[in-house]
C-alpha cells in the first residue's frame, strides 16, 4: 500500500482546482457540510480505484462516474475532470505518481512504469475499503448475519475462498458422477459377459470353467488362469474373411435374450419396487403439496428473510407484523423447508437406484432390437422400439428431475407404474424374437463353442477396459474428495483462527475507546455456513447482538473498531493508508482522546486522512498529535468550489480576525474554542464543576473551576515530590505552578465572577490591542497545560478516572506527576 504525499484535483465533484500537501503524514480535512470535504474523499477513491462508491453503490440508480463525477459545469467534458496523487510505497522505498481522468475511468497512468509499482496500484483497486464513511460503519454492526458474512468476507477477500470451494465441489461432484457412470458400465460389462457364458454371478473360477468347457469341445488346451492377457480364443482357427464377424451368433444371442426373458419373467426385484415406490411417494407429495416444493426452493430465501427482521414489519413488503410472530412464522417455514431438503436427499438416492436398473434394461432391449435387425426374416420391431422409447423417456424424466426439481410430473409418471414388464404386444415381439433366434438352424457344437468364445472374448476385453476405467475413476473420485476435504478443513481452521483474532482485536480496540464504562467488554464472532454472527457483551449481563442494548454512538464505535480489526487482518503490514470520512463524528467528546490514542498506538504505520465538520474536533486531533497537517474548507460556491485555509489553526484564524480589526469575531472564536477545551480540561483534571441538568456549560461554569483544579493538582504533585524527597521533580513542578499562577492571573479568568468588566462577555468591547493581550495570555496558558515534549504536546490528564487521583500524565509518558503523598 501507499502513503500519500500530494493530491491534485481538477474539476471533480464540487472542486474546481485544489492541491493538498499531506507529506505522507496523517491529515485532517475540516469544513461545514457542503464545503467539498467528501469531494476530496471521492477524488482519492476515484484516482486509486477508478470508481466512486457514492455514485455507484446502493441507491445510485441513474448516476454514473463518467457523467456525474466531473464538476457540474463540466459534466459534458469528463476529460477536464482529473485527479493526480503522488505517493510513497514504503515496502519498496519507491515513489509513484498516479493519474486518472474521468474521461476514461478504467485507465490509470502510473509513473514510473514499473511492474512492481503497477502491482501495488492494482492491489489498491481491489481494496476500496481503504475509504470508510460513517454510513458504512453500520454495515459491520447492525447488518443481518448473512449480509455481515458477505461484507466481512468481501473485506477479508474470502469470496475468493468461497469461489474456490465451489470449484473444488463442482469437480468433486463431476468426479463422483463419472465414477458412478464408470461403475455402471463395468457392471453392465460384467452382466454381458455373464450372459454370454450363462453365468448368473461372475466368478473367476466359473468363467474359466465355462470357457474351458467350450475349449474342450474344440479340443483346445484348458486355460489355467484368468489374467488381463488371457485369450479365450487362443488356438481357435481364424474364421474365413466372409465370416469374420457374423451378424448374429445364435448361442450368444439366445443367451442374451434368455437373460432378458428371465429378468422380465422373474418380476420386478423387490429392491427396485421399494426404490420406485419411495420415489413415487415423495414425488407425489411434492406434486400435490406445491407449498412443500416451494419451501424447498425458498429455503435460502426464508433463512435470509429471518435474518432481515429488525422491526414490526415484513422486511420485503412492509406489511405490519409483530416482530416475534413474524420470526416464529418464518421459523416454522424454515423447519418445513429443512425437512423437505432431507426428503429430497432420500429421493435422489431412490431415483439413482431406479436409473441403474433402467440403464441395464435399456441396454438389453437395444441388444434385442439389434438381433432382430440381423435376422433374415426380421421380427416386427415397432413394439420393442416403443418399449425402448418408454424406457428412455422414463430415464430422461428422472435425469431431468435430478437437474431441476421443478420437473415433477414426468418424473412421477416414470415411477408411478412399473416399466419392468413390457406391454403384452411388446412382450409378444420379444418372445417372437426369442423363438426366431431359437429357430435358427443349429450350429455345430464346435461352431457354437467358437461363437461363444469369440463373443466372450470381446466382452471380457470390454469388461477389462471398463474395470480399468472404473478403477481409475474411483481413484480420481477419491482424490477429488480428499482434496475437497483438505480444502474445507484448511479453510475452516484458518477462518476460525482469523475470526477469533479479529474478535480479540475488536474487543481490545473497543475497550481502549470505552475503558471507563466497558473495561471488561468482549465481542464474539461466530462463523456458520454463509453467516457470521456477532455478539457483544453488555455490561457483564451476557452476549447480545450489538443493536440489542447498546446506544447508536456505541454501535458506531463498535463498527469503527471492527473495521480496524478487519483491516489489520486483511492487509497486515500493508494497511498503510485509510480515509475516514466523518467517521469520528459519532464518537462523543469523552472518548475522542482515546480514539486518537488508539489510532496512534495501534496503527503507527497507517496514514489516516480524516474528515470532520467540527473545527474543534480537528484542533483536538492536533493537540493529541494524531494529525500534523490539515486543511480547512469553508464558503463553498458552485463557481469557485471550497474556500481553503492553509493548515488551519485556531490561533491563526483569531489572529486573522484581529488583523482585520474584527475583535467581535475574534472574541467569538476564542470563546468557542475555550469552551470546548475547557470541557476537555474539566474532564482531564476531574475538575469540580457545578452540575447542570441540561448539560449546557458555558465558559464561566467551566474555566475558573478548571484552572483552580489545575493549580491544586500541581500543588498536590509538588507535595508528593517533597514527600518522596524528589527534589528535582519538586522544583520543576513548583516552577510550573508559579508559571500557571502568573498566566491564570493574566487571563483574569478567576476574576470573572467578581469583576464584570473583565468577564469574557466583555471581550467584544475591547480594543484590538487589549484583546490581543487576552489572546496571548490564553494561548500561553493552554501551553502550560500541555506536555512540553514537542512530539507529544498532549494535554495532561489525571488517572485513574475515578477514585483517589494517583497521577497526572501526558500521552507520551515524559510528563508524569505523582499525586500520591504516601500510603
Amino acid at each position: 500500500m501507499i502513503r500519500v504525499k500530494t493530491i491534485h484535483i481538477e474539476e471533480f465533484r464540487g472542486i474546481r482546482d485544489l492541491d493538498l500537501d499531506l507529506d505522507t503524514k496523517n491529515f485532517g480535512i475540516c469544513g461545514p457540510n457542503g464545503t467539498g470535504k467528501s469531494g476530496v474523499v471521492d477524488a482519492i477513491e476515484f484516482c486509486l480505484t477508478g470508481d466512486v462508491t457514492r455514485l455507484s453503490g446502493q441507491g445510485t440508480t441513474g448516476l454514473s462516474v463518467k457523467t456525474h463525477a466531473p464538476h457540474v459545469d463540466q459534466h459534458e467534458h469528463p476529460e477536464k475532470a482529473n485527479v493526480t496523487i503522488t505517493a510513497d510505497i514504503p515496502s519498496m522505498h519507491k515513489a509513484v505518481k498516479i493519474h486518472r481522468s474521468v474521461k476514461n475511468p478504467r485507465k490509470v497512468n502510473i509513473t514510473p512504469v514499473d511492474a512492481d509499482v503497477k502491482g501495488v496500484v492494482e492491489e489498491l483497486q481491489t481494496h476500496p475499503e481503504f475509504a470508510l464513511s460513517r454510513r458504512e460503519i453500520v454495515k459491520y454492526i447492525i447488518t443481518p448475519p448473512g449480509k455481515r458474512s458477505e461484507d466481512v468476507q468481501t473485506l477479508l477477500r474470502l469470496e475468493h475462498l468461497e469461489k474456490l470451494r465451489k470449484s473444488f465441489t463442482t469437480l468433486n461432484n463431476k468426479r463422483k458422477g463419472e465414477a458412478d457412470e464408470a461403475e455402471r458400465n463395468r457392471r453392465q460389462a460384467e452382466t454381458d459377459l455373464g450372459n454370454a457364458l450363462k453365468i448368473e454371478k461372475l466368478d473367476r473360477a466359473l468363467v474359466l470353467e465355462k470357457v474351458n468347457e467350450k475349449r474342450e469341445i474344440l479340443s483346445l488346451k484348458s486355460l489355467t488362469e484368468l489374467t488381463k492377457d488371457t485369450s479365450f480364443k487362443a488356438g481357435v482357427a481364424a474364421p474365413k474373411a466372409a465370416e469374420d464377424k457374423p451378424a448374429l451368433r445364435k448361442a450368444v444371442a439366445l443367451a442374451d435374450l434368455s437373460a432378458l426373458q428371465s429378468a422380465i419373467n422373474g418380476g420386478e426385484p423387490a429392491v427396485l419396487v421399494e426404490n420406485r415406490q419411495a420415489a413415487k411417494s415423495v414425488l407425489e407429495k411434492l406434486r400435490d403439496d406445491e407449498q412443500a416444493l416451494t419451501l424447498a426452493r425458498r429455503h435460502g430465501f426464508i433463512k435470509t428473510g429471518l435474518e432481515l427482521i429488525t422491526e414490526d414489519a415484513c422486511p420485503l413488503c412492509d406489511k405490519p407484523w409483530k416482530v416475534d410472530e413474524l420470526r416464529e412464522h418464518l421459523r416454522r417455514k424454515l423447519l418445513g423447508a429443512e425437512k423437505i431438503e432431507q426428503l429430497l436427499q432420500q429421493l435422489r438416492a431412490n431415483i439413482n437406484a431406479v436409473l441403474q436398473s433402467l440403464s441395464e434394461r435399456i441396454h438389453a432391449v437395444e441388444q434385442a432390437i439389434q438381433y432382430s435387425q440381423s435376422l433374415k426374416l426380421p421380427v416386427q420391431q415397432t413394439q420393442p422400439a416403443a418399449y425402448l422409447k418408454q424406457l428412455k423417456d422414463a430415464e430422461t424424466a428422472l435425469n431431468d428431475f435430478l437437474k431441476d426439481h421443478s420437473r415433477i410430473e414426468p418424473a412421477a409418471q416414470a415411477v408411478v407404474r412399473s416399466w419392468w414388464s413390457p406391454k403384452a404386444d411388446q412382450q409378444a415381439r420379444i418372445d417372437e424374437l426369442h423363438a426366431a433366434v431359437k429357430a435358427l438352424p443349429d450350429t455345430s457344437a464346435e461352431d457354437e463353442a467358437r461363437d461363444i468364445l469369440s463373443v466372450a472374448q470381446d466382452r471380457y476385453e470390454k469388461l477389462l477396459r471398463e474395470t480399468k476405467t472404473a478403477r481409475e475413476q474411483k481413484s480420481r473420485r477419491a482424490v477429488a474428495q480428499k482434496v475437497l476435504d483438505h480444502y474445507n478443513n484448511s479453510c475452516t481452521g484458518v477462518l476460525e483462527g482469523i475470526y477469533d483474532q479479529v474478535a480479540k482485536d475488536f474487543s481490545r480496540f473497543y475497550c481502549v475507546i470505552n475503558r471507563e464504562d466497558e473495561e471488561k467488554f468482549v465481542g464474539k464472532l461466530t462463523s456458520a455456513p454463509a453467516k457470521l454472527s456477532f455478539d457483544v457483551d453488555f455490561y457483564g449481563r451476557g452476549l447480545f447482538p450489538p443493536g440489542a442494548y447498546h446506544s447508536e454512538g456505541h454501535q458506531d464505535g463498535m463498527g469503527f473498531c471492527l473495521y480496524l480489526a478487519l483491516m489489520k487482518h486483511t492487509l497486515s503490514d500493508k494497511f498503510t493508508f485509510a480515509v475516514l470520512d466523518d467517521v469520528l463524528m459519532s464518537v462523543d467528546a469523552g472518548h475522542r482522546r482515546d480514539v486518537c490514542r488508539l489510532l496512534k498506538s495501534e496503527f503507527p504505520k497507517t496514514q489516516f486522512i480524516l474528515t470532520t465538520h467540527d473545527r474543534v474536533w480537528l484542533q483536538y486531533m492536533k493537540t493529541e498529535g494524531l494529525i500534523v497537517r490539515s486543511q480547512s474548507f469553508g464558503g463553498w460556491t458552485v463557481d469557485a468550489g471550497p474556500r481553503v485555509w492553509d493548515d488551519y489553526d485556531i490561533w491563526t484564524e483569531i489572529q486573522g480576525e484581529l488583523d482585520n480589526d474584527d475583535v467581535a469575531k475574534a472574541a467569538w472564536l476564542l470563546r468557542r474554542y475555550l469552551e470546548y477545551t475547557a470541557t476537555i480540561f474539566a474532564d482531564n483534571l476531574r475538575a469540580h464543576v457545578e452540575f447542570r441538568g441540561d448539560g449546557h456549560y458555558d465558559l464561566g461554569d467551566l474555566l475558573p473551576q478548571v484552572l483552580k483544579e489545575w493549580r491544586k493538582r500541581l500543588e498536590d504533585g509538588e507535595k508528593s515530590a517533597a514527600h518522596w524527597k524528589r527534589d528535582d521533580e519538586k522544583e520543576d513542578i513548583a516552577s510550573k505552578r508559579t508559571k500557571a499562577k502568573e498566566l491564570i492571573a493574566k487571563t483574569n479568568a478567576e476574576q470573572w465572577a467578581i469583576n464584570p468588566s473583565v468577564h469574557f462577555n466583555e471581550w467584544a468591547n475591547l480594543q484590538r490591542q487589549e484583546f490581543q493581550e487576552v489572546v496571548g495570555a490564553f494561548k500561553e496558558l493552554l501551553e502550560n497545560l500541555r506536555c512540553e515534549n514537542e512530539s507529544c504536546k498532549s494535554y495532561l490528564y489525571v488517572l485513574p478516572r475515578k477514585g483517589k487521583a494517583e497521577e497526572m500524565r501526558c500521552n507520551c509518558g515524559i510528563t508524569n506527576i505523582n499525586l500520591k503523598a504516601g500510603a
Binding site: 477477500r157 475468493h160 469437480l171
Partner: protein, 67 residues
C-alpha cells in the same frame, strides 16, 4: 516448489489457506506430489481456479512433464 512470488492480488488470508491446504495434501499419501505442485502453482496464480483447471492439475499432467 511453486513460485511464491506469483500471487499478486491474493490476500494474506487466501495465501494462508493455500499454505495450510498444501501442507495438508502433502501429509496425505493418497495425493501425488506432482499433482500437489501443479495445483499449488495454479492456486497461487491469483484468479480463482476453475474446476477444469483443477482437474487438469490433479489428473492430467501436461505432456513432457510439469510446465
Amino acid at each position: 516448489m511453486a513460485n511464491k512470488d506469483n500471487h499478486v492480488g491474493l490476500s494474506p488470508t487466501v495465501l494462508h489457506v493455500v499454505e495450510q491446504f498444501v501442507a495438508a495434501m502433502r501429509a496425505d499419501d493418497g495425493i501425488q506430489g506432482d499433482a500437489i505442485r501443479r495445483l499449488e502453482k495454479l492456486l497461487r496464480k491469483g484468479a480463482v481456479a476453475k474446476p477444469d483447471e483443477i482437474n487438469a492439475a490433479l489428473f492430467d499432467p501436461p505432456p513432457g512433464g510439469e510446465t
